[in-house]
């Protein structure tokens, strides 16, 4: 017997299995895992409809939405209205986003800009978007510019606020580093400020896109003659619950798709981050 090696070699009992305890982090994410919640909701709805628990006059079945949607596509109404709505929301988001980013940089990077702009924005932020619509109509009329303006205002706030706070949170140590490396103002912006503010901007963009779709729903009920909201309003007048439902589903899909696109962009742009939830 070799007593010494017997002592050194671990006995099977002392071999601890790797990480028996459940990890505290959420674990490895799965592809498209975020589809699970919507999928379950759809299943629930389908079961209620199929068993007759859900009166189609209250809420039509999911497949009714699909068949009606297909009919609307065949007639060409859905895509025409969708294009109008998407253009509205898109241009509002673009205008609000550009304004949000520009003002956030102005107020985040200069003291005076901060004193002037941030104060106003914080004040204005308290006013609900619905409350400014009468003024928007007064200033921009009842047509398209008013609609885009309302959407832009709605999208502006989250984008401004998140970008601004990300800018303010940039580590002072990086500023010192930039000074010792002799970076020019432009290099400082490009290498430190913009990448540092990017996560905040993308988060703001996600909120901003949601806000834009939300504002779209509201403004399309106002004197619109095209768009998904118009389609829904018209269907409501004729009590076509199935068309109303298609409108809702389209809104939901639009919001979901937009959010997915931005999250995808986030993953591509922020590969350097290592966080819990990805």
């Amino acid at each position: 017997m070799n007593a010494i090696s017997g002592e050194i070699l671990p006995s099977p009992l002392s071999l601890a299995p790797a990480a028996q305890r459940a990890p505290l982090g959420p674990g490895t994410p799965r592809r498209n895992g975020h589809l699970l919640g919507p999928g379950l909701l759809l299943l629930y709805w389908a079961i209620l409809s199929a068993t007759g628990w859900l009166d189609p006059r209250t809420l039509p079945a999911p497949w009714t939405a699909i068949t009606t949607g297909a009919d609307l596509v065949r007639e060409g109404r859905l895509q025409a209205n969708l294009a109008v709505s998407a253009a509205r929301a898109g241009s509002g988001l673009l205008v609000g986003g550009i304004a949000g980013v520009l003002l956030a940089f102005l107020s985040g990077l200069s003291l005076l800009g901060g004193y002037v702009i941030d104060g106003i924005v914080q004040l204005k932020r308290g006013i609900p978007i619905l409350a400014i619509i009468p003024f928007m109509i007064l200033w921009f009329g009842i047509g398209e510019p008013m609609k885009v303006a309302v959407i832009a205002v709605a999208a502006f706030f989250p984008i401004y606020i998140q970008t601004h706070s990300a800018l303010r949170a940039i580590d002072l140590r990086y500023v010192e580093l930039a000074e010792t490396l002799g970076l020019s103002r432009w290099q400082f912006l490009r290498r430190i400020v913009i990448p540092g503010a990017l996560p905040g901007f993308l988060l703001g963009l996600r909120f901003g896109a949601t806000a834009a779709w939300l504002a779209l729903v509201v403004v399309e009920q106002l004197n619109a003659s095209s768009g998904i909201g118009y389609m829904v309003t018209l269907a409501r007048n004729y009590a076509q619950t199935d068309v109303m439902l298609v409108g809702l589903v389209v809104y939901a899909l639009l919001g979901f798709i937009t959010d997915s696109v931005i999250r995808w962009a986030e993953r591509r742009l922020l590969t350097w981050r290592r966080t819990l939830g990805r």
Binding site: R173, Y174, E176, L177, A178, E179, T180, L181, G182, L183, Q187, R191, I192, P195, G196, L198, L270, T271, W272, R273, R274
Partner: protein
């Protein structure tokens, strides 16, 4: 002696809270390795920040003459998390510096890691990237603020060796701020003691072979720092 690389005369700095400098005079010759020792609060970092030009919050007078090209190494590696290792080394450098950056990474033993993200490196490796970032600037003066303070003891010894090799090869003047006497004795040509915002003592470090003399100096330095 040739003209000094660094010349400091009657440097004074006051802060509301942090350390104070109270008339510092210091010369560093080209290629000379000076360690700045002192207790915490003695003004070591204040002096280094004044030389690095990042003490905007301080008020003071005095004369500082520095070489054109200087580089700073901080206690934290201070790599930008959104830039890969090579881009961190190249930060603020023209595109043509790329081969030099690769060479600097090779010198610090990270030739294969140029496309890694900073968070993928260990603390010691991150500090070596910071060293490469300083090297690529071909500095005539290297300012280091307790650069190995956050590393474990074994990594620190490796880093001492690396820094000594690199400073012997590239011959910048070095000012190393530290509170570690052994680090100062191992690396520096001369040790300068800062106390109460002034240079209170300085001594030449004996040749590396002279163990008894080193032990003696070590004892003296400890006494000056108030440790017995």
């Amino acid at each position: 002696m040739s003209a000094a690389a660094v010349r400091i005369r009657d440097l004074q700095r006051t802060f509301t809270l942090k350390g104070v400098l109270n008339g510092v005079d210091l010369d560093i010759a080209p290629g000379e390795f000076v360690a700045l020792l002192g207790r915490s609060g003695s003004g070591k970092s204040t002096l280094l920040r004044a030389l690095a030009g990042i003490d905007h919050e301080a008020q003071g007078t005095g004369e500082i003459a520095l070489p054109q090209r200087s580089a700073v190494i901080f206690q934290d590696a201070r790599l930008l998390p959104w830039l890969r290792v090579l881009d961190n080394v190249l930060l603020g450098q023209p595109r043509e510096a790329r081969p030099r950056a690769m060479q600097a990474l090779e010198e610090v033993g990270l030739a294969r890691r140029e496309q890694s993200w900073p968070h993928e490196l260990s603390g010691g490796e991150q500090q070596r990237v910071a060293l490469a970032r300083a090297l690529v600037r071909e500095p005539d003066l290297l300012l280091a603020d307790e650069p190995f303070g956050a590393l474990d003891a074994l990594t620190r010894i490796q880093m001492h060796e690396l820094l000594r090799r690199l400073s012997e090869r590239h011959k910048p003047a070095v000012l190393l701020v530290t509170h570690d006497i052994d680090e100062a004795l191992a690396l520096a040509d001369r040790i300068v003691m800062l106390d109460g915002g002034r240079i209170s003592a300085e001594l030449q470090v004996p040749g590396r072979g002279d163990r008894t003399l080193i032990a003696l100096q070590r004892k003296r330095l400890l006494a000056m720092l108030g440790v017995d």
